[in-house]
Each structure stands twice: as structure tokens, then as C-alpha cells.
Symmetry: C2
Subunit: 704 residues, 2 copies
């Protein structure tokens, strides 16, 4: 099931357009759409107007219906009341129109009746091949080509072309992003398809991935309707070397509820979303300003792995605050080369700080040459990957000069200089930074967050495996009737058959066979009741460990039978599992596999025990795992310190644990596993093995 995406060229840049519901009333949707295209756009193709009640609009001829147009338009813009929309769409489809943008509202957002009409629209698109954009949306703004298929009265102000492609669902926050043009953020294309009956955010991401004028894709997501399509789109962006920066609403219960009521999209699990985003190289942010700041930084420069940061400022307190936040965010301050420190010491006053963070002191603001040269010295340092340059205040000419210096030094350097204009007072310095396309950020904390994400993307680029292909691209969810549950014995047999190392085990059907099995395995052994009806074996008295000799095993047989009979008199007992014992010591961990409705099969790793449950200290990946995933997901959990030998513990056999994670991933793929728990998973010290002590598996029936 590899996704095929539509070619949106004729939607984004059509050669011919019809406006259905065209009007010359500037306060109507149809009128605004008409004037946006005729007065505010550089549209040079054929424009037809349709309005059943008019023969002309603003001096142009107007047809009664799409059916009578002289030729077939690439794009129809539908701007009529809801009641007529489906009919108009059918007319368009009948003529062979390629794309329809439905600006009208009054559909799914109104309730069930509207949802019914949306289903008809979807069916129409599927049946005819005409792709539908909307309804209940502001339209599409192709700013780089200066084409507005939108009723937005703000389109005339959307003038700053640029490298960002913006894909949103709701229009309001999309508009916020476009208004970042005031800060010098140029946007090339904005798609906001509202109720998304057909075309959706993933289609736009895919289009932008292939668009030569777009360098960074910004996605504001309330819900992902089709996980496989989303994965296909962001993978395409990665192939094309274009970062996708995403804000996904729905991290808290309030957000999930509000999102569902707003767009009827399924919010999905925030934890799984975030894990999948990290894995797919989608840069996740928490706020709409962070979306803009991070995307712009990525548009300015592509990070390498492990970029180190310099802080340069004329205020010591501001430099200290910025360095403090750099540290709190887990970023690394560059250590300057000796030559850099020497150059700074020569240029700056003796009470300045020549190390990173650089505090030039305000004294240097009087001398342009010193500012230029000292900033240049920092930019020239081979250890510096990015310079944070906070401006704590607007101080007239001095600030303007400092800002001009940033612009000048940046022009000659490939190291991004990131200005932070903290003050609420604007001034010529701010304007200079904006005009130079530096889109000054607004707070130290938000800037550091943006830089951390920028560095994180560089890190992802360096470690990703381009061949990796998530299972969701090849696999659909089975229905429940197609699944079977394997208990401990069957699950372990399947694992063992697939080459996963387990303790020796065998099912005993009598006291006598229990003893013989134990002797074959070697003492001490463990005895566990096997019964499909008993889920919590220990609670039912069905597990005895450390059985050291034949007498103990025979006693255990009796004791387990008695306990289980008492706890669950009706349970059918298949027998008693006799199993070897893990060596003393070791750390208990767990592996789980389950299906996420959006991203498909997900593997969870964590340390076992009650503390870890309290701290929810697990790492997750969508399957299959790469070697890097296996390596990182072990190191991502905070409890890794325990595996790594904290407090004088022996170091765990992390290599074997990595190998097991990869084996489990292969096993899940090969065996069509739908769900799985290896808990506890015993991890020995270096030289010792890693062994699942218990196992439950759910798999597809048809695989046998």
C-alpha cells in the first residue's frame, strides 16, 4: 500500500479558473474571491464567472452555470451558499474540472446533516477524480506566484514571498503564521483546507516537498486523518531535504476535546505522535510562534549534527541569562579557539567577557569597527555553529549600529546569527534586522527552544537511515475476528522458534513429568500454572520460584494445583510450565508492542517496576526499528543510568538488549504480530544474556 499523491500543480497554479458565485459586492465571499483574483493577483490565465442570477459582474460576462462555459477550467472556486454547493460540484465534475476549492461553510461543522453532504462530496471526488479542497476554509494563497484563490480580505497584505510552505487545517492560526511577514518571514504558499473532505494536510505537505520554491514546510495539525498518507508525505519531504516543522494540537485532555469539537479529527495519542514525529524527522513544537521561529531558522541554515552555540551580547546580565537557558535546554556552548579569545581580548575593553558567552559591554556600542570585528571573530570560530545575539533594549543609534553590524557580518558568514529582540520597544535596529530577513525572535526562552529544535534536526539528519520504511506504509489494521491470543507457552514457543533466547522451558502434564523436566533443565527451576482462564498467575498462587530439588518441584506441583483450584475453581489447567531461572542480579525491563490508530505498530521499551510506572519513563518507536532506534531508545529512558552502572552497579549487557530489540522488531514483521508483551524482560550484566521471562502475543490468524 504505497501512497500515490495527487499532482497539485493545476490547483496551485491553474491556467484557467471559474468562480462559481462570482459577485461584485465587496462584502460577500464571492465578491472578495473575485477581487482577490482580479485586483490582488497576477493571474494571467482564463477567468470565467458563474452566477445563475447575473449576466455580467463588474463588466465581465457571467455564465449561468459551469455546464455552458466555452472550455473546461483547471480550478473552480465555489463561493455560494451551502445548499447549492453539492450541485455546483457535480456540474464541475461533469465538465471534467480538475480541482474545486469550496469556500462556503455550513457543512460538517453544523452537525450530522452537513456531515452527510460532506460524505457525498467525498464520494463525488472518489468517483470522478475531481479533487475537492475545503469546504469551510479561507481558500488557497499562492504568494510566490501572487495568486489568491481566497476570500480573505488580508490577502492584499500577504506580500512577502519566501521559502516557507504552510499547511493548516483551521484558518485562524494559519493567518497568524502569515502575519509573521511583519517580522520578515516570507511565505510561498498557504493551504488551509478546512473540513478536508478530500484533499488534506498530507497532500499539501507532499506537494510542497516537490515544489522548487519551498524550502521548509510548516504544518499546523489538529488531527491526522490518515497516518499512512501523513508518513508518506513527510518521508517525501525528507527525501527532498526539506524539514517539516509541526504543531500538533491535542497534548492534554482539554485540547483533545476542543479539537474534536472543532474539526471532528481524531487527535490520537500525543505521546505516540511525538515519538513518531521524532522518528520521521518532523520537528515538533508547542506553540504557533515556535512554529514560525523554528521554521525560519531552518530556512536560514541547515544544521549539521551537534551544532554548538555562541552567545554574543553587549549586556552582561542578558548574556548570562541566555547562556543559562542554553544550558537548561541541554545545548552546548562552543568552546572558543584560543585565537578567537585573543582577538576578542584585543578588541574589547578589559572588563568585557572574552569567553563564550561574550559580553562586549555597552562601551563598545560607540565604535562600529569594534562591533563588526568582535562579532566577526565569533562567527569565524570553527567551533561555533550558531550565534545567539540578544538585544535587551532599544537604545537609539547605538542599537541601530549594533543591528547593522549583525546584518553586515551575517552577509559574509555562513554561521547563522540569530537576533533576539527582547524589548517591547521597536526601532530602526529592529527594522534593519527584519529587512535583512533575520526575523528577530521575541524572547530568550523561545529562541533557545528554536535553536534546540534546529540542532535536533541536524542530529536527526546525521543519524537517519534513508532506507527505513515504516510498517504502516505496507500494512493495514486487521479486524479483531482475525486475531488470536497466544499464552505464555505458545508465545514462548514462537519466540524460541524465531531464534529469541529464552530460559529452557517445557510444559508438564503430571507431577512426575514436572520432576523429569526439572532434572533435564537443571535446578533451580520455576513452576507456573498454564491456563487460558488465569490472567494473573501470581495472584492466583500459580507461580513458585527457586525450586531447588525434585522434592521442591513435586511439592510445587501440589501447591499450585491447590492454590489455583481455590482461587479459580472453574479454570481449566493445561499443565504446569517448568522453566529455568534467571541468574541472580540483573535489571527488570519490559518490551511492549501495540497498534496506534494513526501510526500503526509501535514498540515501547522501559524499565519495569512500580517507580517506572509512576514516572512513565518509556521510549517508543513506530516499527520497524533501525539499529539507531534500538540504540537510542535504550538510552532515551531516564533510567538508563541504572543499566549504565549507576551507584556502583554492574553495567548491563546493553549490546544484547539492542540486539533483542531488533530481533523483536523483525519477529513482529515476520510473524504478523499485532500486540505483544515481554514483561519482565531480564537484562543481565555484561557477559550475561537478555531473557524475556514472560510473554503474551496477539497475532493475525491467517499467518499460520
Amino acid at each position: 500500500m504505497s501512497y500515490s499523491f495527487p499532482d497539485l500543480a493545476r490547483l496551485v497554479k491553474p491556467t484557467s479558473v471559474v468562480i462559481v458565485g462570482a459577485s461584485d459586492r465587496r462584502d460577500s465571499i464571492g465578491g472578495r474571491a473575485f477581487y482577490n483574483l482580479t485586483e490582488e493577483s497576477d493571474f494571467e490565465g482564463a477567468l470565467w464567472l458563474v452566477n445563475p442570477g447575473r449576466s455580467e459582474v463588474a463588466g465581465r460576462p457571467c455564465a449561468r452555470s459551469v455546464a455552458v462555459l466555452p472550455d473546461v477550467p483547471d480550478l473552480a472556486i465555489i463561493a455560494i451558499p451551502a445548499a447549492g454547493v453539492l450541485g455546483a460540484l457535480k456540474d464541475c465534475a461533469a465538465r471534467g474540472v480538475a480541482f474545486a476549492i469550496v469556500l462556503s461553510s455550513g457543512f460538517g461543522e453544523m452537525g450530522e446533516a452537513g456531515k452527510g453532504i460532506e460524505a457525498e462530496m467525498r464520494a463525488l471526488a472518489a468517483a470522478t477524480g475531481m479533487r475537492i479542497y475545503g469546504p469551510n476554509c479561507p481558500g488557497l494563497s499562492n504568494i510566490n506566484d501572487r495568486l489568491g484563490f481566497t476570500f480573505s480580505p488580508a490577502f492584499k497584505l500577504d506580500l512577502l514571498k519566501g521559502p516557507l510552505g504552510v499547511a493548516t487545517q483551521g484558518g485562524g492560526l494559519g493567518r497568524t503564521i502569515l502575519q509573521a511577514m511583519e517580522r520578515g518571514v516570507g511565505v510561498g504558499l498557504w493551504c488551509s483546507a478546512g473540513n478536508e473532505v478530500d484533499l488534506e494536510i498530507s497532500d499539501f505537505i507532499h506537494h510542497m516537498a516537490g515544489a522548487s520554491d519551498i524550502r521548509v514546510i510548516v504544518a499546523l495539525i489538529e488531527g491526522i486523518r490518515d497516518g499512512a498518507k501523513f508518513v508518506g508525505a513527510v518521508r517525501r519531504a525528507a527525501e527532498m531535504g526539506k524539514p517539516v516543522v509541526a504543531l500538533k494540537v491535542g497534548k492534554s485532555d482539554y485540547g483533545i476535546k476542543a479539537t474534536m469539537s472543532h474539526t471532528a479529527a481524531i487527535a490520537g495519542s500525543a505521546e505516540i505522535n511525538s515519538a513518531a514525529f521524532r522518528q520521521l524527522g518532523v520537528v515538533e513544537v508547542d506553540d504557533v510562534d515556535e512554529l514560525i521561529d523554528t521554521a525560519w531558522l531552518l530556512a536560514r541554515a541547515t544544521p549539521q549534527a551537534l551544532e554548538k552555540v555562541a552567545v554574543y551580547c553587549s549586556s552582561g546580565g542578558t548574556a548570562a541569562l541566555t547562556a543559562d537557558m542554553v544550558g537548561s535546554a541541554g545545548l552546548v556552548l562552543a568552546e572558543f579557539e584560543p585565537a578567537t579569545t585573543a582577538r576578542l581580548a584585543q578588541l574589547l575593553p578589559p572588563f568585557a567577557a572574552f569567553d563564550n558567552p561574550v559580553d562586549t559591554t555597552a562601551e563598545v556600542l560607540a565604535d562600529m569597527t569594534v562591533i563588526d570585528r568582535s562579532l566577526q571573530a565569533v562567527a569565524d570560530d570553527a567551533n561555533v555553529g550558531l550565534i545567539l545575539h540578544p538585544f535587551p533594549m532599544e537604545y537609539g543609534a547605538a542599537t541601530t549600529q549594533a543591528a547593522q553590524s549583525v546584518v553586515r557580518v551575517q552577509a559574509a558568514s555562513s554561521v547563522p546569527i540569530v537576533p533576539i529582540w527582547i524589548s517591547d520597544r521597536s526601532g530602526d535596529g529592529l527594522s534593519a534586522l527584519i529587512e535583512a530577513g533575520m526575523a528577530p525572535l521575541r524572547s530568550v526562552g523561545k529562541s533557545v527552544k528554536a535553536v534546540a529544535r534546529w540542532c535536533g534536526y541536524g542530529n536527526w539528519l546525521a543519524r537517519r537511515d534513508p532506507a527505513w520504511r515504516p510498517m504502516i506504509l505496507d500494512q493495514t489494521a486487521p479486524d479483531d475476528t482475525n486475531l488470536e491470543v497466544l499464552g505464555e507457552v505458545d508465545a514462548k514457543a514462537l519466540l524460541a522458534a524465531s531464534g529469541i533466547h529464552l530460559l529452557p522451558f517445557e510444559l508438564a502434564d503430571s507431577r512426575e513429568s514436572a520432576r523429569r523436566i526439572a532434572e533435564r533443565i537443571g535446578y533451580p527451576v520455576v513452576a507456573k500454572v498454564v491456563s487460558a482462564e488465569i490472567i494473573h498467575k501470581s495472584d492466583a498462587g500459580g507461580v513458585l520460584i527457586g525450586l531447588a530439588d525434585a522434592q521442591a518441584v513435586e511439592g510445587a506441583w501440589n501447591a499450585i494445583q491447590a492454590s489455583v483450584q481455590a482461587a479459580a475453581p472453574d479454570a481449566h489447567i493445561d499443565g504446569i510450565l517448568i522453566e529455568g531461572m534467571a541468574p541472580a542480579g540483573g535489571v527488570e525491563t519490559l518490551i511492549g508492542v501495540h497498534r496506534d490508530p494513526v501510526f500503526g505498530l509501535v514498540l515501547t521499551f522501559g524499565l519495569g517496576g512500580i517507580y517506572v510506572e509512576v514516572f512513565k519513563d518509556v521510549s517508543r518507536r513506530i516499527l520497524p526499528l533501525t539499529k539507531t532506534d534500538a540504540r537510542e531508545m535504550i538510552r532515551e529512558v531516564r533510567c538508563f543510568a541504572i543499566l549504565d552502572g549507576a551507584r556502583g552497579r554492574p553495567k548491563a549487557n546493553v549490546a544484547a538488549l539492542e540486539a533483542l530489540l531488533l530481533s523483536v522488531s523483525d519477529f513482529v514483521v515476520a510473524q504478523q504480530i499485532e500486540e505483544m508483551d515481554l514483561n519482565p524482560l531480564w537484562v543481565g550484566a555484561e557477559g550475561q544474556p537478555v531473557i524475556p521471562l514472560d510473554a503474551v502475543i496477539v497475532r493475525r490468524k491467517e499467518t499460520r
Copy 2:
């Protein structure tokens, strides 16, 4: 040691001033100070000028020295090169000048020589009673009285009077705060005493606490020089009902290092700082914009405990994002009264959201009455404590009307409406909100943070004990020679004598006495070696538990002697401690007490074990504890779920644990304890006791 603070009335509003180094050169420090006072201030008192080389400055008479002035000024402003400053200060002190502001730089920030001169300044202040402000500072801006004792060329723009008092160390970020006037944030007084040779941030906080025109105090702190003084000042602010909002730089190693190089202040432990701030009701923030936003919110309205939030917006996506962040921050969305929802349903279009978060949809923007009434309905709801009102975009007249509606509804409501102007585009709506004093915030995330802190302050107000007095106000740190370490036996004897419940224990000096003691206590017992030279008893084989009978105890005597002799042949063994055993089950926790250099004795509580160490999951309080502290510090650790009966565990005896925390606090005060570890501290289930199983104490010698 109760702190006495200086009365700063004659510093902040002097009746007479001398400028030493007065000049008419507008580009000099002395000239700027002169013009700020003569042209930009409403100073009506006597102004004298001193400059040894001038007989007049700008047409005013100028004296050669302070010694020859006709009368004694309240305040001297020193604006001469560093070399002459100490002499000038001596002249001032000799004349009986009350306050001197030293604008000049070139002292501690230059190195050791400068620090020496600063020490002389400090000594001069102590000897003469003349209080010194500075050096290396921009001066003092008393905006509410329109008095600028500052060289800052920006003073002429510092025009918006207001309820904030701002106390900073460095000048740069203080200037950032003042420039928030552009956003409608009014500042009454700014004190920024640079190198703080004498007057320091705590003195200004104390002054502002008593100043009738200041309602909220903003502190930007690089280091707290004197913890007791700081505590005294913020307690005074609390008594006067004035919140203190603080940004403390030095949360990461980079920040600590940069701060030390910038101000030579001791950064202190960020964890202890934060714990002490919470306890003292100081509202801590992470960034300079957060300082402004939070302070302004507190100036606008005083929160009650547990305020609930409403979100009101004309964009559904923005409402969802805001509600999402409200949830992620742990805040509570108000549940509307049925009447509110009914009013909204009547007013808004059918596809709007009438619940919290309210999405009016953009359609209502056409009708002022609907906006007014629907916002009013939310403000009238008795469950709503604050309304977040995000504006995702500037959309011309519609946005302006919505903003005017906010201003109108706010004028008639005591529920604060907090506008968030997310867009980078400004407009008349933004201006209207600024003019109305609402200081619109700039990002959803930062706004939610400000509201969370506002709610947190209300919570603190509701639960604080006004009589509580931190030990640091009465106690200085002892020197090390005055301390003695009590090992387990002596420590436990002291605890038992103070009424803290322990297991029965006795020191055995022979195998025979061990057996007799065990019989008195009752089996099973524990045996532990007692030796001042053996720190890690278990590692030396010095602990044996679960001794069930006389034979076991005698065997343990032999075994411990042998193990310890092997492990530490030279250690003197005082005997073997025989002790009762805690019942099975229970949870291991720990209590620690240590002295923080800034805030004095601090108590730490946490759950024991290696996981908790990895997660650093502890709570801390400066001593003594109140009942509320004891209650909250147990519930603050994330592992509280384990004490509270997670995963079917028995609930722990939390009441006994609270009582023990209070007993330990009393014990520390009564016994002059300097350091203490009760680890492990065994916490039984409800009905069972709470028992320290091991104890080490460091106390002052003189108390015996």
C-alpha cells in the same frame, strides 16, 4: 538577628541633591545625569553642582567640592572617573550626606584592584552611616515622582507611571522591563545598584514593600548576597500584601559561571532557590518577558486560591490550542454554569462552541452587541476566575471591534480578561488593549505560564502561615570546628530522647549481652556493627538482619566481628547494635537536613532507592516546617502515588509521616542540628508506624 532595613525615602525622593562631576556635555555621564534631573525630572528641591574644574555649569553655579556646599544634601550623585570616587564619597560622608549614587564604573568588574576599592566603600558606609548605591550602575529612576538620578539617555522615554517596582542588579535587562511601557506596563520605581557595594536588591524590595504607589515587586537577581536580608525583605512584601515576582539567573552550569563572571555574586543552588521562593511566596519565572507578564497580571488582579480559567476566542483552532496548553500546564478550565451556556447558545451561531473553550466563530465579529454580550456572559459566570482571550490575527476593523469589546467588558467586570496578541502585525485593536492597560501578552504558551503563576500565587496566599519565620532570620552558620558528628547509636539516642519513635535498640558489648538484649527486644532482630571508622556498615559485612533466635544472634556476633575485621582490620569496634525489625512491607523513604549557604537549614524528603536517585524526585523546604509544608512536601514528590496506594498497594500512614516531618523540624531547631540523615526511613501502611531505621546527625557542640 532580625534584619533592620534602611529607610530609603531620602534616596528615592530627596529634598536636596548634589551632582558631583556635573557637566553640560550631553555625551558625558555627568552631563546626562545633570540634564535628566534638570530637564526630564520634576525635581523641586535644592540642586547643587560640584566639579573642581568649573565655576558654573549651564548657567548654574558649580562648587569645587561637597565640603563647601551651603547645606548638606540628602543625595549625592557621583559621576566622575573611578580614580576620584572614593575621595568624593569620603567628602560626602564627612558632610553627613545620607545617600550616594555612584554611576561611575571601573571597580569590581575590572578585577582585584577595583574590588579593593569597593571594600573601602563598604567600610566607609558601615563606619559613617552614609548608604552607597552602585557603583557601575545606571542610577535610580523614580518614575511615579518623575525623578531621574540616572545617566540613561532613555530616561526621557520612561514616562508610563505605574504599580510595578523593579529591582535589578545588571542594568540591561532592567531596561528591557522598563521598555515594556510600550505594551502599557507602568513602572513606578526602578532600582539597579550594579556592583552593590552597600545597598542591594533586598533593600529595594523592602522599600517597595512599604511604598504606597507600588503594588507588585519585580526582582531580577543574579545572586543573593545575604539570604537572611532577602528573606526579611520578601517577608515584608508578603506582610504588605505585595507579590514579589523574581527571575533568578543561574539554573544551569553555564548560567552560574556567566553570572559569577558578570557580578561576582554567588549563584547558589537553583533547586534550593526555587524551593525557598515557593515557600516564601516569591513567584519565580524563567525569562524576562515572563517577569513582565506575570507581574502585570498580579498588578491587575489578586488571585484567590484555585482560580479556574475560561478561554474565549473567535477562532476555533486558536481556542483549541489555548485550551490544550491550559491543560498541559495543569490548570483547570472552568465548567460553565448552565445559564452561561444557555446565554451563549442564544447569542452565537449554531456552529459555535458554547462550552469552555468558547469558539464564537469569526462570524460574530460583524456584530458588536453579540461580542459584548457573549464575553460578558463568560465574565459573569461564577466559576470563572480569569479569561484568556487570544487574538490570532490582525484583521482590521473586525479585530479592533473585538478589542474594544474586551476593554468595555473589562471596565465592568472584576474577572481579569487577558488578551493574547499572537500576531506579529499590530493594529488599532492592539493599541486599544494597550491604552486600556491590559498589556496584551505575546504568545499562548507564555500567557498560560503567566496565568499558572498567577493561580499559584493565589494558592500560596490561601495556604500560607503568616506567623512562619525561617530559621535563617535567627541563626548564623557555625564554623566547622564547632560541630560534632553523632553516629547511629548516639543519633538514635538523641532522637529517642526527643520523642521520635524508633525500633527498640541497645548496644551489646559481648556475645552474651547481644543475646540478652535480643531477648528483651523480642525476635527477630537486626545486628549492626558500631564503629566510628566504618561508614558503610553493610559493605563491610557489618549488618545482619532477620535474626530469629538466640543461636542466630550469637552466630551474627561472630560473623560480624569476622567480616569487619577482614574488611577493616584497624577499625575500633564499639560494639554491636541489636535492634528490633520493621514489619514486612512498607515503603523506604528518606529525610535529610543540610545548610544552604543562602537560605540556611533545608529539609529534603524523598522516596529511597536507586530509581528515585535517577529521577531526583525529592521535595525541599527551608526550616522550620509548617503543617502545610509537611503535608505538601509529601504530596509534591511524584512517587507520592506509591504512598497513596498505586497499583493495589496498601495506603501508607501519611499522617504519621507528616507528624514525623514536623517532629524532625522541631528537633532540628531544639537541638541545634546542622546536618542529618534519616535513611532509610521506613513508612508503614495505615495503622503502622513511621520509623527511621538509620540515623546520622551533625550538631553544634555548645548545645550540650
